[in-house]
Structure formats: C-alpha cells, structure tokens
C-alpha cells in the first residue's frame, strides 16, 4: 500500500493541480465566456510564487496569496476589453494572452531564467495541503453553483438576451467569471511551482491549454464532479496506455473530436441529463396512467 502511494503520489499531485486548472477553465465556460486564459494565469501564478520563494525568501502563504491576487488582477484587466467580444473572438484573444505570458517569461531571463526556467524551487506544499485547497475550491465552486450567481452564469451562457431581459448585467457576470478564473488559475499555478521543483515556459504553452480544455470537454462543464472526472480520465489515460504515451497530444485531439460529436455535454453531464430525461418520461407515464384510471372509473 505504502509502495503504491510512494509510486503514485507525484501522479496524484499532478492530478490535484490539474483539477484546480480544470475548475479555473470551467467557471468561465459556465458563464458563457470562451476564454482559454487559464494556462496563462497559471504561468503568471507559478512564476510569481517561484520568484518570491526562491529569490526573496518568502514563505508559501504570502507567495500563494500574491499568485492568486496576480491572477485576479490580470483576469480583471483581461475582462475589460474581452467582455465586449464573444465566442471565438474571446478564444483567439485569450490565446494571444497565453502566448504573451510565455513570450514575457522567455524574454525576462534575469528574473525568470528564460527558456531554461527556474529550478530547485523548494517543495513547500505537500499532497495533503494540495488536497485541502482543492477541497476548499470544490466547496466554493459548489456554493457558487447553488447560489444566484451560478443561476445567472447558467442563464447568460444559454441565452444572453434572456439574461438581459431578466435584469442580469452580462458585463458584470463576465467580469466576475474572468476574475474567479484568474484567482483559481493563479493560485494553482503558484502551488504547482511549490510542488514540482522545476518550472519552465513550456509548461504554460499551447499543449497545456488544449489539455485543460480537454478536462472540461471530457468531464462536462455543468457540475462540480464533471471537471474532476474529466481530469482523472485524462491524467490516467497515459498511465493506463503507456505504449501510446508518445502520441499523447494526438490521442487528446482525437478524444476531443469524438466527445464533441457524440457526447457534447461531457461524460458526467450527459449522464445527469439522461437520468433526468428518463425520470421525466417515467413521471409523465405515471401521470397519464392516473388520468386514464380516473377516466375509466
């Protein structure tokens, strides 16, 4: 048992970090914002924590708080121009943001180590702390989902015009989604830096962006469990199918195409939808039988 834990705990850390990124991605998609900026927030958060801890000797708590705050501020700034555009334009603009973060990291070599990255970052966060913070984020996402804010996100995503007619300020909720996504992305970026010893710009590039999107596409965006399931599947996939590990990106791409075509709501949300439809049909049948029984009597 202990051997198993020792062998797999880096994988478990990796899974927990990615669950955080998945939530950062989910919250924007839930509000109908097609942002892929999560990996950019994560990059900023990671470098912020790494530099603060390694160069300036800060502890993990101030470093992580700064990473989170940085994510929030950048999320807010991004929302200023991007709350005006929609859909694919938001995707393109946030993709540009991700590239800018990578370019800046490569450029300021003195601070960030350029393409080589930062190594020998002390590991200040252990698996339990990671698990605790994921727990807190799960609670927050759940609480938001159950509150009026979650309902407003759902309404805006499905039909903006209806949202406006019901008194929802689209701009306000899109901004809120960006800020929340930035906060979660920055925080988990910081935790990544303080868990994995080495960070480099490649971690925060296009591949990671696609991977994070896949978590949501596979799991589903409508619930708390969706992103967790999606992340578990994607993280476990190369472990289960070692021979395919080299073709990871290809497998991911194929998986996205298959999911979008056949299960566009993701594994978990499709299941929920199916259960709900079944129940509706059953209740309908019961009601009709009752009416018939009354009519016959």
């Amino acid at each position: 048992m202990m051997d198993f834990l020792r062998d797999y705990h880096p994988l478990f850390d990796f899974f927990l970090l990615n669950v955080g990124f998945a939530f950062s991605q989910q919250i924007v998609l839930r509000a109908g914002v097609f942002s892929v900026a999560t990996v950019g927030f994560a990059g900023l958060g990671a470098y912020c924590s790494a530099i603060m801890v390694k160069n300036y000797g800060f502890g993990e708590i101030p470093a992580l708080l700064c990473s989170m705050a940085l994510g929030m501020v950048v999320g807010f700034l991004l929302s200023l121009p991007l709350a005006r555009v929609r859909g694919v334009y938001q995707a393109i603009a946030t993709l540009a943001f991700v590239q800018i973060v990578v370019a800046l990291v490569r450029h300021f070599e003195g601070l960030t180590g350029g393409a080589l990255g930062i190594d020998r970052i002390p590991r200040l966060i252990d698996t339990w702390q990671l698990l605790a913070i994921v727990g807190v984020v799960v609670y927050i996402i759940y609480a938001i989902g159950k509150s009026g804010v979650g309902r407003a996100f759902d309404t805006v995503r499905q039909d903006e015009t209806v949202g406006i007619a019901l008194g929802i300020s689209i701009r306000r909720y899109h901004t809120l989604a960006f800020v929340l996504s930035g906060a979660i992305g920055g925080l988990f970026g910081g935790m990544q830096a303080l868990t994995v010893y080495v960070i480099e710009p490649g971690l925060y590039g296009f591949n990671s962006m696609v991977t994070i999107l896949t978590f949501i596409v596979v799991g589903g965006r409508g619930s708390v469990l969706g992103p967790i399931i999606g992340t578990a599947v994607i993280v476990a996939l190369p472990e289960i199918s070692r021979p395919l590990a080299e073709y990871r990106q290809m497998v991911l791409g194929a998986l996205i195409v298959v999911m979008i075509n056949y299960l566009p709501n993701g594994l978990y949300d499709s299941l929920i939808l199916l259960v709900r439809q079944r129940r509706a049909v059953r209740l309908d049948k019961q009601a009709k039988e009752k009416v018939n029984a009354v009519a016959c009597a």
């Binding site: 609480a143 159950k146 309902r151 499905q158 209806v162 007619a165 019901l166 809120l176 409508g222 439809q277």
Partner: protein, 252 residues
Amino acid sequence: MPSLVLDRVSKRFGGIDAVSNVSIEIPESCITGLIGPNGAGKTTVVNLITGMHNLTSGQILLGDIDIGRAPAHETARSGVSRTFQNIRLLAEASVLDNVVAGFHRLESSSLISGIFGFATSLRESRTFRERGRELLARFKMERFVDHPAGCLSYGHQRRVEMMRALAMEPKILLLDEPVAGMNDVEAYELGDIFCELALSGIGLLLIEHNIRFVTKLCEHVHVLDAGKIISSGSPAHVMHDPAVVAAYLGTA
C-alpha cells in the same frame, strides 16, 4: 404601481423609420392592446421599451423615471418584464429552473454571501423554488417540474416563458404574441390569467394577431401600421375605423 408612458418615441434603422412618433400609455391594472399587420413595428416597440434597442428620439417614462436610455438590464430590474415572440427558453434547464431564473431581480445574495453565507443562499434558493412551484400550479404545469424545457410542446413552452416573466414580479408586463399557435380553449385560459394579473395591479401590453382575442380582453387598443399609430381607442371603435380596415384588408 406606476404606469408606463411612451412619449413621441421614434426609431430609425439606417434610412428606415421603423417606429415614428409613437405615443402609448400602458396604465396599471389594465390590459392595453397593440395590433397591426406584419412588419408594422410592434416588436420594435417592445424592444424600445425594454432597452434592447436605443431610442432615436422621444422618451419612455415608468412613473416619473425616464427609462428610455437606461441599459436593458436596468430597465428589467426596474420592473419591466417581457416574453418573446419567438420563444426563448433555457433549453438545457428544467422547467422549474427556467422559472427560478426569473427571480434574479429579487435576489439578495451576492458572490460573497453565496460563498460565506451558504446556508442563507440555499434558503433563498429554496424559497424561489417554492414560489416557482406555485407559479407552475397556477398555470397547471406541475407535472412538468423536472422536464427539460426544450422538450415541451409549443403551448407549454409559451407558458414557461410567461411564468418566468411573472417570477420577476413585474410592474409592467409586455406580452409579444403570447397565444400565437394556441387553440381557443388554451388562449382563453391564458386570457383569464391576464385578467387576474391586471386586477393585481400590473399593467399589461398585449401584442396580438388574434383580433378577437384582443377585443375581448383589452379596454384600449392601439393600431400600428408602418411604424405609426393609425388608430387608438376602444376595441369597437378601432375595428370600425376605415384606416384600420384599409391597413388590414387593403383598399379597393
């Protein structure tokens, strides 16, 4: 409750006067009718009132407040509610969730209270769900509570939209062809509900093609043609106005 007054309202799209110099009053506790041939500008009037389109000129008063240039969501928050001509429901959500979405205007919980006052926000959600169920009962839709809204029949979808509009506890309710596609029995069932709403103090604007339905329900009817009001008054007066007959049937 305040009444809604449109004062010489105009809207130009490029070179076209979609609505010009329209003055209508939608008094409280009353059903006001707005009829007119296709393309007359009826829906544009609704869009102007709700702030979905910007006014070119004129003003719109809700009580003493000019809402003519307020952003659309502010107008909704101040108590102007609407239904859509082409039904717009949240297709993924259940019927009850669609109705509950309508309570947004009455919500007190913010992001912070949603996270830290989880119990309070849950309680609020529960209250809204209870009230949503009451609305469903009023429209005889209880058995569809958990149905995905997209799966309902046309007439039922219209009802869901109306319940959602009512969940806002509106002062003014704009109904854009609410009984289109319904048979007479269904239509008059809804008509009874409209009358109840008017009695409770809400001011209703009823946009309809079904002239019989309008004449039965409305005390006051305006006829719009090519963006202009061509006749106003009691249903009997309007129906015999030569200008209205000409607009609907053409002149010989």
